[in-house]
Symmetry: C3
Subunit: 386 residues, 3 copies
C-alpha cells in the first residue's frame, strides 16, 4: 500500500467521523412508527441482495473469489455512510432521515456494485473503494436531477422510476462501461475474464437470492397499501423473464447456458423497476418476458460481438443484464403508464446516459492514473497464503 | 428442442399474457393495509425457502446440479403465475387477491418442488415444466375440495390443515411417488441417484435455510394476534425433530448419517403444519419429536426396503420427509385438536391420497410419452460446456 | 453412544415434554398485535444468523464440516426449548411470553454458539449438547442478575446492554475460553485448528450473512419508534469496522488476510450492542471503527502470542471477535451514554467476567470427565461413509 492510499484512508476516516446527525423518531406507539419499522424489513432484504446475493455471484470467480468478495464488502461499507455523509452536505437536495435514508443509501450501493461488475478483476481493493467515492458523486447528482428537481430540469415526480430501472440499473451499468472502456488496453482484450466468471453453479444460487428479495427492492419506498400490487408485479416480471430465458437460451444456443440462466432470469426485475407500482399483472409479466429474452440475446449473441468490435471487456456482462433491460424498463413506461410526461421521461433517460458515460469515462482515466495492469488480478497478489 | 415443445411454449406464453387482473388495494394508511404488507414478509420468507432452501439442496447433486437448479427455477416461474391464472378462471372457487394470492401460489410451488424431488434426475427441464402444469390442476382441485368446500364434500373450515401437512406436503410427496412409479422401468432400479444425492454438506445448509423460514411458511396466512403462538409451536416442533433425528440416526445406524440430519430434522415442520395454531408448546414439541424419529426410521430403514420391494426410486426420499410426516400431522389433529370434525378430517386425508396417487400415476404415464430414458440425466446433456 | 448419554437423552426428552405453557395472544386486530408480529421478523433474522450465518462459517472447516454443522443444529435445537423450559421454573425471574420469549431464547443460543467456537473440533456431538445445558444455566443466571435485578445486585434497567455486547458476546466468549482452558492438554497445542478453520471463502459468505441481519439482532426487542435510529447505528458501526479491518490487515500484515476480513468486519456489530439505541450515527461509526481495528489487531498479533504464552487454543478466535470487542462495547457505554450509572455498568461487567470464566472452567472439567481426546475430531469418527 503506497503513501497516497494511506493518505486517502486518513482523509476518509476523518470525514466519516463528522457531520452525521442522529435520526429523528416518530411518535411512540403510532401507526407511522410501525409503518417505518415495516419499511426496515425491506431495507434488510436489500442488504441481503447486496452482500449475500452479490456474494454468491462472486464466491467462485476463478482465482479471484476472495478479492471479489472483499471488494464487495468494502464498496458496501464505503457507500452506505458515504451516501449519507454527502447528502448531509445539502449539495444534492434534502437529506433524508430514518429508514428512507438507509434505503436510498442501499440503492446507491446496489448501483455501485452493478458498475463494479463491468471492471471486476481489474482493480485492486483500494481502487474499488476510490471508485466508490467517484461513483457516488455522479450517482447522487443524477438522482437529484431526475427525482428531486435538481437544477430545475425535471419537475419532481414527473420522472417515473419507482424501482430504479434507470436511476439504479442503467446508470450503474453505463458508468461501469465508461470505466471499463477508458481503462481497457489492447492487451486486456486477449484475456476473457467473462468466460471464466460465469462457470460456477454458485452464480445460480446468487441469482436466486437476488430473485427472492427483488420485490422488496422495488417496493422498498412504496406505501403499505400499494405493496401487494407492486410486489406481485415484480414477481410476475421475474417469472416472465425466467421462463423466456430458458426458451431464449435453447433457441439461440441450441443448448442451455448456465450463465444465461444465472443472469437473464433477473432481467424482468431490472425492467419492471420503472413501472412496478403502475401496471397490471399481465403487463408486468409481458415486460419481464421481453426483458428476459432481450437479455438472453445480449449474453448469447451481442456480448462476443461487442467485445470484438468495440474492444470493451464487460466482465460480468452488466450491459446485458442491467444496461439494456434498464433502458427497456424506462422506455416501457412511455407506453404503459397513462398520462406520463413523455418529455420528462425521455429527458431523464438522456441525462442518465450522459452523466453515467461521461463520469464513467473520466473516473476510468483517473483510476488508470493510480495504477493499471493489463492482465487480470489474482487473489495471490493481495491475499496472504493464497 | 422439438416442435412439440416449441408449440407448448407458444401456447404457454399466449396464455400467460392474458386474463390476470391487477390486485386491489386497501385503504391508504389503514391498519389493514399494514397487516397485509406485514404478511408480505412471510411471503418473501417462503420464496427464500423455494429458491434458496431448495437451491442449496440441489446445488451439489452429483453431475446434475445445474439441471436441478434450473429445473427448480423454472418450476417456480411456471407455477406462481400458473396458479393465479387458473384461479382466475373460477373453476376452483374464488380467486384470491393481494398477498394472500401470492402465498397460496407459493404453497402450490412448494408442493410441486416436493413432488419433483421424487423424480429428480429423470426428466428434462421442459418436462419438469410440463409436470408443473399437470401437477397444478390436481393440486388446485384437491385444495378446493378440502379447504373451500369444493363439490360440497367437506364443509369450509372443517378440515384442519393451517400449515399444509396434508394439502401441501403429503399431496406433493404422493403425487411425486405416483409419477415415479409409472415412469420407473426395471433398468432404473439398478442405479441409485438417492445415494449420490445426499452426499454433500450443502444439503445441510439447505436444510437449515428451510428450518429458519419454516415458521413463516406455517404462519403465512395466520392473523397477527395468533402469530406468536403459531411460530413458537413450529420452532418447538422443529427443535423436537432435530434432537430426535440425532438420537434416531445414532440408534438405527450406530453412527451419524448426514442425509438423515439434512432431512429428518425438518419432519417436525412438516408434521406440525396441520395443527400449528391450535396446540400448546409441549404438544408441538412432542409432535415434532415423533415425526423426527419416524422420518429418520424411514430414511435409515424403510427407504432401502421400499426400493427393493416396490421398485420405486424416490430420488430425494420425499416419502420419508414429506409423505409419512405429513400424514402423521394430519392424523395427529384428530387427537390433539378438541372438537375437531373427525369425519371431515379423515375424508380430507383420504381424498388427498386418492387424487395425488391417481393424478400422479396418470401424469407419469403422460410424461413417459414425451420421452423417457432409463438412466439418469446428467448436466452435460442439456448444458453448454459441461 | 454409551449408556450414560442414552440416559441423558431419555431425561432430556422427559423434561422437554412437560411444563411449557402455550403463549397468550394480544387483542384481535390491535396495533399491539401487529407490533408483536413485526418483532417476529427480527426473530427470524436472528434465526438466519444462528443457522445460516454460523452454518456458512462451519461448512468448510477442513475434515470437520459435517460435525460442525450438525453440532450447530443440535445446540440451537437444545437451547431454544431449554431456555424456555428453565425460565418456566421461575428460578431466574419472570418467564417471558410470545415473541419476546423467542428472541431471548435465540440470544442464549447465539451466546452458546459463540462459546462453542472456542472449542470447535474438540467435542463429540453429544458433548456439545451437554455443554449447551451447562452453558444455559450460567447464562441465565448472569442475564437475570444484570438485566432483571437478580439477587438485588444491579437495579433493573441500570445496566446498559441493549444488543448484548456484554451479556451475549463477552459472556459467550469468556465461557468458551474457560472451557477451552480446562479441556486443553499440552498435546492439543501442537495442532492448530485455527489455522485450518479460516481457510475458506465460505467463511466470508457466513460473515456477510451475519453482517446483513445484525441490525435485527441489536434491535430485536427495541420499540418501533426507536428502530430507525438503532438499526442505522448498527449499520454505521459495521461499516466502520469493515473499513478499518481492511486497513488494519494491510497495516499489520502487509497483505490482506481473508480470515481477518471474515471476522473483524463484524466487530463493530459486537461493540455497538451495548449502546446501539443511545448514540448518534458518527459515534456509532467511531465505536465500530475502533472495534474493527482492535479485533484485527487481535487476530493478526495477539492470537499467536496468546496461544504460545497461555497455552489456550481458541479455535475460531472468539476472544478477538466477541470477547475483546464485547468488553469494549460495554466500557464504551461509560463514556458515550450520558447519565449512565457507572457503578452498575462496571459491576455488571465484572459479574459477567466472573460467572463466565468460573462456570466455563468448571464446565470444561465436567466435559473432560465425559471423554477427552488430545487430537482434533474428524467427521469420519462419527459420520457414516466419510
Amino acid at each position: 500500500m503506497n503513501q497516497g492510499s494511506m493518505l486517502s484512508v486518513a482523509l476518509l476516516c476523518l470525514v466519516l467521523f463528522t457531520g452525521l446527525a442522529p435520526t429523528p423518531s416518530l411518535a411512540v406507539g403510532s401507526l407511522d412508527a410501525v409503518i417505518e419499522a415495516q419499511m426496515y424489513n425491506r431495507a434488510i432484504h436489500i442488504m441481503a441482495m447486496l452482500l449475500i446475493g452479490f456474494g454468491f455471484l462472486m464466491v467462485f470467480v476463478r482465482g479471484y473469489g476472495l478479492s471479489a468478495l472483499t471488494a464487495t464488502y468494502m464498496m458496501v461499507a464505503v457507500s452506505l455512510p458515504g451516501y449519507l455523509l454527502i447528502k448531509s452536505f445539502g449539495w444534492f437536495g434534502h437529506a433524508p432521515t430514518g429508514i428512507e435514508a438507509m434505503i436510498l443509501a442501499e440503492f446507491s450501493a446496489a448501483s455501485l456494485l452493478i458498475c463494479a461488475g463491468a471492471v471486476l478483476g481489474r482493480l485492486k481493493i483500494w481502487q474499488y473503494m476510490l471508485m466508490a467515492v467517484l461513483f457516488l458523486s455522479a450517482y447522487m447528482l443524477n438522482e437529484w436531477i431526475l427525482l428531486e428537481g435538481g437544477w430545475g430540469l425535471i419537475a419532481t415526480g414527473a420522472f417515473v422510476d419507482t424501482g430504479g430501472s434507470i436511476v439504479i440499473h442503467a446508470f450503474g451499468a453505463l458508468f461501469g462501461l465508461g470505466v471499463a472502456v477508458s481503462m481497457t488496453t489492447r492487451k486486456d482484450r486477449d484475456i476473457s475474464p467473462a468466460a471464466e466468471y460465469t462457470s460456477d453453479r454458485f452464480s445460480l444460487l446468487g441469482s436466486m437470492v437476488l430473485w427472492v428479495f427483488w420485490p422488496s427492492f422495488c417496493a422498498a419506498l412504496v406505501a403499505p397499501e400499494m405493496i401487494p400490487a407492486t410486489v406481485m408485479n415484480v414477481v410476475a416480471a421475474l417469472c416472465g423473464s425466467t421462463i423466456l430465458t430458458y426458451f431464449g437460451t435453447l433457441l439461440l444456443r441450441r443448448e442451455i447456458d448456465a450463465a444465461d440462466i444465472a443472469n437473464a432470469t433477473l432481467a424482468g426485475g431490472v425492467a419492471i423497476g420503472s413501472t412496478c407500482d403502475k401496471v397490471s399483472l399481465p403487463v408486468a409479466l409481458a415486460i419481464g418476458a421481453v426483458a428476459g429474452f432481450v437479455s438472453t440475446f445480449g449474453f448469447a449473441v451481442l456480448q462476443g460481438k461487442m467485445e470484438k468490435l468495440h474492444r470493451i471487456v464487460d466482465t460480468c456482462g452488466v450491459s446485458n443484464l442491467h444496461g439494456i433491460p434498464g433502458l427497456l424498463g424506462g422506455f416501457a413506461a412511455l407506453i404503459v403508464v397513462s398520462g406520463i410526461d413523455k418529455g420528462a421521461q425521455l429527458l431523464g433517460i438522456g441525462i442518465t446516459v450522459a452523466i453515467a458515460v461521461v463520469a464513467g469515462l473520466a473516473s476510468g482515466k483517473l483510476l488508470s492514473l493510480t495504477g493499471h495492469r493489463s492482465d487480470s488480478y489474482e487473489d495471490s497478489e493481495e491475499f496472504a497464503g493464497e
